[in-house]
């Protein structure tokens, strides 16, 4: 330590040296960043069992010597791609489930084509999900099926479970699933019925364009994209940081359009009339009440979720009719809850211990 000035010149010199090295690394890695395509995502071996337009059903090849009796069907959110749950080996929720002995299926989505603009909520809840459940039953040879729904995939699973109350869903797991849409305050304001002409928009565009969906997600944290890019540049010398940034950034910007009629129903029934929360929701004329769901349910919510705030999700457990029900709040945000380092340490083991004993 240099006493008179209070400065440690040796430490400063060391720091300057390290910064110069990082600056050189940034230049080299920066060129690599733009010339490479990033890690390959969603590569756990799987077979496509069925597809119909936007709907795709996959079966992941088992990785354990014996599996639980009850297969698991993951219902992905319709706005995003399923590979968030299957990033890279070691950071894949799917791989984790397979290694822990689950037989895993996924209902994933691709962009609905212009001619699929007329798909309605009933197509998703009364056709796509039951069709996939049937195919999982056929393929696995089992009657019972556990369902895991992520974000809006959770909403679809709740609607399905409340309408098909006599089965075959055996267990339900929801990740960050909103039911009180008034509490999604910013989205509710963007879609204020006095100013948001959903009919005009859908009549003119057909499907809800992905750019608008992405924009509305990004508007929830308008400075974060730019701050993320600054962070990327600072850490571009760090291969692990860059890999992680690329995986999450690619997924976050890989937003899907939503089928026009389906989006219209989400806006009017859920955003405007909050029907799921108010117990007035119907799908294709069939009543969907959360109290009618009686199967064991686990709801995982994130402490710092800016997309689905806790207030929008907290009533799920109280409103559901099941006796065996549990809510677990974990540290993290909307995405880090299910993917990333926190998920590996917190959510996945919790889910395994909850689901394992209910899967025999």
């Amino acid at each position: 330590m240099n006493a008179p000035t209070g400065l440690d010149f040796a430490a400063i010199s060391e720091r300057v040296q390290s910064e110069v090295q990082r600056a050189i690394q940034r230049s080299i890695k920066g060129v690599e960043y733009f010339s490479s395509s990033g890690p390959s995502l969603g590569s756990t071996p799987k077979d496509e069992l069925h597809s119909r337009g936007t709907m795709h059903l996959y079966h992941y090849r088992p990785q354990a010597s014996e599996v639980y009796r009850v297969p698991v069907l993951i219902v992905m959110a319709t706005t995003n791609r399923g590979y968030i749950l299957d990033l890279v080996p070691g950071q894949s929720f799917i791989e984790f489930l397979l290694k822990r002995g689950y037989d895993v299926y996924m209902l994933d989505w691709t962009a609905p084509k212009p001619e699929e603009k007329s798909l309605r909520m009933e197509d998703y809840v009364l056709d796509f999900i039951p069709d996939c459940v049937r195919r999982v039953q056929q393929d696995s040879g089992e009657t019972d099926v556990s369902v895991i729904g992520y974000c809006f995939g959770g909403v679809l699973s709740l609607l399905y479970g409340s309408i098909f109350k006599d089965g075959p869903m055996k267990n339900l797991i929801c990740f960050t699933t909103p039911i009180d849409f008034r509490e999604m305050k910013l989205f509710a304001n963007f879609a204020d019925r006095r100013y948001f002409d959903v009919d005009g928009l859908i009549d003119s565009t057909g499907n809800m364009p992905p750019e608008l969906i992405l924009q509305s997600f990004e508007m929830l944290r308008p400075a974060s994209r730019m701050a993320g890019q600054v962070q990327l540049w600072e850490n571009i010398w760090n291969d692990e940081f860059v890999k992680s940034y690329r995986m999450f950034d690619r997924w976050a910007t890989d937003t899907l359009p939503l089928a026009g009629e389906y989006f219209r129903a989400i806006t009017k029934d859920l955003m405007w009339d909050n029907k799921l929360y108010n117990d007035t929701m119907t799908v294709g004329g069939r009543q969907a009440k959360l109290a009618d769901i009686k199967v064991p349910i686990l709801h995982a919510v994130a402490e710092h979720d800016h997309i689905v705030p806790y207030d929008a999700a907290k009533h799920l457990i109280t409103k559901i009719g099941s006796e065996d029900k549990e809510e677990v709040m974990l540290k993290g945000g909307h995405v880090s809850l299910v993917a990333g380092a926190n998920a590996i340490k917190r959510l996945w083991p919790k889910l395994d211990s909850w689901l394992g004993k209910r899967s025999t």
Partner: protein, 127 residues
């Protein structure tokens, strides 16, 4: 090493983090107002309206040029999709028949799969 509090890199990172939080919080407050919703939706509505008008104009132009319009292509695509759907159903049926012929007791197990006998590990043994 330089103390954390004096490290310019740490100061810079903290500043960026604080700016991000501050701006997000400020913008979130502004975006909860009805005025924001009105302004945002007016701008969005105008863009969608212009797009619709352009689409209608283009349709008239294509008609005049004796060329198929987007709506006609969409119609054709719908028919193709319905054919694709039927093909997919036929394929699934064929696969089912094939599986059944390999495993007469049910559709399961055209290829060997692990037995469905797994039991959860006793409490306390989970990692």
């Amino acid at each position: 090493m330089a103390e954390k509090g004096n490290d310019p890199a740490v100061i810079w990172q903290t500043m960026i983090g604080e700016m991000e939080k501050g701006f997000n919080s400020f913008a979130n407050q502004a975006m909860t107002s009805p005025e924001f919703s009105k302004m945002m939706n007016q701008a969005g509505g105008a863009a969608a309206g212009a797009q619709k008008q352009l689409g209608e104009l283009m349709e008239k132009y294509l008609l005049a040029m004796n060329m198929p319009s987007r709506a006609q292509f969409v119609g054709m695509a719908e028919r193709l999709q319905s054919i694709e759907g039927q093909l997919s159903e036929i394929k699934a049926l064929l696969q089912q028949v094939h599986h059944n012929s390999l495993a007469p007791e049910g559709g399961y197990a055209a290829k060997p799969r692990p037995p469905r006998t797994k039991q959860p590990p006793p409490e306390g043994e989970r990692k």
